[in-house]
């Protein structure tokens, strides 16, 4: 913007400068002739001197004779035949040189006026000694003008841009109802257009998210209702069935619960994605969270005859999404319990590390072949010893997604003494 203005102003200066140099040749011719007839050669020479400083040389001829004492400048001399040809002629032997020849009458004498305009030798046209000082003043003035204009423009744009930025950040942080709105979105300039486009985009995103949310709920409802009916129908049929087919009823009933679990996990994964889109950060005490989640799992641990331990500082607060982080921990603990053999131990460690925190959950189970460690977090991935697990293969994918939206990463490794060690590394503040 400033550049455009300065170019414009510089252009004006150049034009103006050019205009002051570009004389009216006819006036100049008649002035010269009049001065000659009234004052003679010396008057003309004195009058012509300032013109010379502007790069203009003049000559006056009568019947081909040079009336002035000075010889004709070389470009004029060289082009003399052409300059004398027509009653009025302008030549440009070189782009920067203008030659003029014209007849002029004064007190019944017909004279031939010749003039040449060329840049003064050794000096660019604009910086002829005469123009140098006003030129600097002009530049100073124009810089001042540029400064003032830029400041005014910046001030008039600054506020709307600031407003735009605020709304964009709110939407990015998950407040999908934020809009720019009037008066900015009604203004006719480019910023107004941008504001309208942004509001339009935000409308679309909001309705898509809303539709997505409804779709998730509907899918959950629509899939679970027939499962509920199926479960009842099975139970009614079971009463009539012979004892030999009872195991098949049990099996069918278990499969229904599995399908239900799968639906729940897919919903949880979808919600983790959705939660990521509309995540609002709050302080989460990971030490507290780990104590809490482990306490929740106590019953399951006891039922399986497993020991548990937790190493954590008193508090360890990061900025994040407590529900999602709790879910990630639950999944890790469930996984550790699932793969533990009897008399095993589930160990949780929460510790600060450089630029963040680290949570690890370890079991004393069989571990995972090294070649499969990397794929552990893929959805529906089942390791070669996955037969023992009864989850649906989404638990760790959910964990990874949650950790990703917190700007962290998941690592899986085999423990030295056997078993699997899952580590989550989280930054102190999730990126928005």
């Amino acid at each position: 913007m400033t550049l455009a203005i300065s170019a414009l102003v510089m252009g004006r200066i150049a034009q103006e400068n050019y205009a002051t140099i570009q004389p009216d040749w006819r006036d100049l011719a008649s002035d010269t002739a009049r001065l000659y007839t009234s004052g003679g050669m010396d008057t003309v020479m004195a009058w012509a001197r300032p013109l010379q400083r502007r790069g203009i040389r003049i000559a006056l001829l009568e019947n081909g004779r040079n009336l002035l004492m000075a010889p004709l400048p070389p470009p004029m001399e060289e082009n003399l035949p052409q300059l004398m040809r027509d009653p009025e002629i302008i030549l440009h032997p070189k782009p920067e040189i203008t030659l003029v020849g014209m007849d002029v009458t004064s007190e019944d004498r017909t004279l031939r006026f010749l003039a040449m305009r060329a840049p003064p030798r050794g000096m660019p046209r604009f910086f002829s000694p005469r123009t140098q000082l006003p030129m600097l003043i002009e530049i100073a003035v124009s810089l001042l003008v540029i400064g003032v204009v830029s400041w005014l423009i910046a001030r008039s744009m600054g506020k709307p841009v600031e407003q735009l930025q605020r709304v964009v950040r709110r939407v990015a942080a998950g407040d999908l109802s934020a809009r720019i709105g009037a008066p900015l979105a009604q203004s006719q300039d480019e910023l107004g257009q941008l504001a309208r486009d942004f509001d339009h985009m935000a409308n679309r995103i909001e309705s898509l998210m809303e539709r997505n949310r409804w779709l998730l709920r509907d899918i959950s409802h629509e899939l679970r209702s027939p499962l509920a009916r199926l479960q009842l129908a099975l139970e009614l049929g079971r009463d009539e069935a012979q004892p030999s087919v009872q195991p098949y009823f049990d099996r069918a009933s278990r499969e229904i619960l599995r399908l239900d679990e799968l639906i729940a996990e897919m919903l949880a994964l979808a919600r983790a994605e959705e939660g990521a889109a509309g995540m609002t950060l709050e302080p989460v005490d990971l030490a507290e969270l780990a104590r809490d989640r482990l306490a929740e799992a106590k019953m399951e641990l006891d039922n399986r005859g497993l020991r548990s331990s937790l190493q954590a500082p008193e508090t360890l607060v990061i900025e994040g999404h407590p529900v999602l982080l709790g879910r990630a921990l639950d999944n890790l603990i469930s996984n550790a319990i699932k793969f533990s053999s009897k008399d095993g131990e589930v160990q949780i460690r929460v510790a600060p590390v450089s630029e963040g925190v680290q949570i690890s959950v370890e079991d004393r189970g069989p571990g995972v072949p090294e070649s499969e460690l990397a794929q552990l977090f893929s959805p529906f991935y089942r390791g070669s010893n996955g037969l023992r697990a009864n989850g649906q293969g989404l638990g760790l994918a959910i964990v990874e997604r949650i950790v990703q939206v917190h700007g962290g990463r998941c690592l899986a490794a085999n423990r030295a003494g056997g078993g699997l060690s899952m580590t989550l590394q989280l930054p102190l503040k999730a990126p928005v």
């Binding site: 679970r224 509920a228 009916r229 479960q231 139970e235 009614l236």
Partner: protein, 228 residues
């Protein structure tokens, strides 16, 4: 014979569930929307003994129906939901449901919960209990703070009774779930916590001097005896 009202817009499910419960010797009434359900309580006929209520219904949803029902009636209510969102569970319990099951459920599980909520108060003596301003009359399943009678749901009453009998001692959550809801505690089961927080509100609203219920981290709840 005990009467169960099933409220669900899924008519096929209602039919199957009715068959199942009738087989278990229950009288079954059906309603397919919230208003029809509430109408069962305004007629002159014998009101149901327990309600199985679906959350997601067209028109007025189950939670709204529950709120309206609770203004007048304290009978046991089991919420059924296909959403299975833990938040839904808490909201349902907050609004005064006694228990919560998500679809699909094991029919035997539902039956066990229905029976547990209907059985009520069989165990223990019927001797009146009083702790400070709080008085309980187990034979009538009624409770008072001073002269004000508490309006309690079945689960709330059972929890209050369990805590009052052990006043001054910590009662763990598993035992409270058994006593209050007649079923074993599950992982992530917040039912007791929600019921206790409702109980606290009702007690302190009746009188600021009513005995308090303290939560003991990691183990359970404790009714404090007044120091006097």
């Amino acid at each position: 014979m005990r009467t169960i009202l099933i409220v669900d817009d899924d008519q096929e499910l209602c039919g199957l569930l009715a068959d199942y419960l009738r087989r278990e010797d229950f009288e079954v009434q059906l309603a397919h929307d919230a208003d029809a359900a509430l109408a069962h309580f305004t007629r002159d006929q014998h009101p149901p003994d327990l309600v199985i209520l679906d959350v997601m219904m067209p028109g007025k949803d189950g939670l709204t129906a529950l709120r309206e029902l609770r203004q007048k009636h304290q009978l046991p209510v089991i919420i059924l939901s296909a959403r299975g969102d833990p938040a839904d569970r808490v909201v349902g319990l907050e609004l005064g449901a006694d228990d919560y099951l998500s679809k699909p459920f094991l029919p035997r599980e539902l039956l066990a919960r229905v029976r547990a909520l209907l059985r009520r108060g069989g165990a223990g003596s019927d001797e009146p209990i009083s702790i400070g301003l709080l008085r309980l009359q187990p034979s009538e399943r009624r409770a008072w703070v001073g002269d004000t009678e508490l309006k309690l749901t079945g689960a709330e009453y059972s929890l209050l009774l369990a805590l009052a009998r052990q006043a001054g001692n910590v009662v763990n959550k598993a035992a409270l779930t058994e006593e209050g809801l007649g079923r074993p505690i599950e992982r992530f089961d917040r039912s007791v916590d929600v019921h206790v927080s409702r109980l606290r509100r009702k007690l302190s609203t009746a009188s600021p001097l009513a005995p308090g219920i303290e939560s003991v981290r990691g183990s359970g709840y404790l009714m404090t005896r007044p120091s006097t």
